[in-house]
Chain length 221, copies 2
């Protein structure tokens, strides 16, 4: 598998699913979607491990959202929603990622019917972990995500709680736009999102079968 | 300057400004923005010249929006809005582009406060022209855009009508996210947008000082 630098360099889009865990929908008072919906983050937002802090733009209320991320290993178009094998074969590996969100900017955009690109797209708004080899996560719908702020656990849930599972996500995206090798897909965040300010330390990680996956560890100062 | 194939291959984001011509805002009954707002299109949407028709997804009302596009020649961060020279120096060249839009999908997204990425991001939703050498457009705020459908002129206006000029656009984007070499910026569409169906022929072009810029010609069957 490629190096992290090349992951960033080769990424041509980051597609993220919104509202994919029921309890997270409740905590934001959002409507439960009848079908998956997606938004783009720009590759320029990727923050590599050790590359410094997330930068909070002035006046921005900045929320964390820990998510399991897929790295695509080949081009996918018009994938059938029941094609679990096709979906799994298209995944080259995994990352843990934090979908940083300018929540007040997003709330304003929602109210006005405006795009989310700014709220989701600031530089440093996508901290990622080291590469996680595909073999390390036997079943991506059975992995435990967690995120803490200053040592206090904020998010801790299993990917089995996703409303729309990974094959359905890849199917829906790929019927709109081709997923290309190197593209990254963020699969949604569980409940517990909240704000961080400059100086807060975020840690995040992933457990499979109760064991920590070391490469997944994120620490953002 | 690079080949068109490499333009597509090297493009890591396409940023588009919304509502940047007053008469276009009126025709869509949109609110006039106090500051520029932007959305991302995925690079996978780029349709190279001669690469076939725009594909209309089932149930989609598909609108054309002709726009002057900038190809970035270097990384730009935190550009000052008055730095006209900095903005112009960062532009490597131009394209003419059609920002195809699934208008009914976008209208639904606006109503529900959802992102625009799907409405703007279908495969083939970004037809572009040949490369236009930077020297061919002495002043990008004085170029005449046009677009016809089946021989009938639909859009025909000068870039001098932009509400937010190019340095302001690049400044606002670059204060949110780094513009990188190869990124493409769409500068907004003038009035006259409308729908096209399968089989309609779109032609578009650019005039500078009353003369056609041949490389800018787009013809989408
Ligand atoms: Mg998210
Ligand atoms: Mg993108
Ligand atoms: Mg447009």
């Amino acid at each position: 598998m490629a190096s992290l630098q090349s992951i960033k360099a080769n990424c041509r889009k980051v597609m993220c699913i919104g509202r994919n865990y029921a309890d997270h929908i409740k905590e934001l008072n959002s409507a439960r979607p009848k079908q998956p919906f997606f938004f783009l983050k720009p590759p320029s937002a990727i923050l590599l491990p050790g590359a410094g802090p997330v930068l909070r733009p002035k006046g921005v209320i900045m929320h964390y959202e820990v998510e399991l991320a897929l790295i695509m290993g080949k081009k996918v178009q018009d994938l059938h929603p029941d094609d679990t094998k096709g979906a799994m074969d298209a995944i080259a590996g995994y990352l843990l990622a934090i979908d940083m969100t300018a929540r007040n900017v997003q709330d304003e955009a929602k109210k006005k019917g405006l795009p989310w690109s700014i709220a989701k797209g600031f530089d440093t708004f996508l901290p990622i972990s080291q590469l996680i080899d595909k073999s390390r996560i036997a079943d991506p719908q059975n992995a435990h995500l967690w995120l803490s702020v200053n040592g206090e656990m904020k998010q801790s849930d299993n990917t089995e709680l996703m409303l729309f599972r990974i094959p359905r996500q890849l199917s829906d995206i790929s019927r709109v736009m081709a997923l290309e090798e190197g593209d990254i897909v963020l699969t949604g965040t569980p409940k517990g999102v909240g704000s961080v300010k400059t100086g807060d330390v975020m840690k995040a990680g992933l457990k499979v079968d109760g064991k920590d996956i070391e490469e997944a560890n994120i620490e953002v100062p």
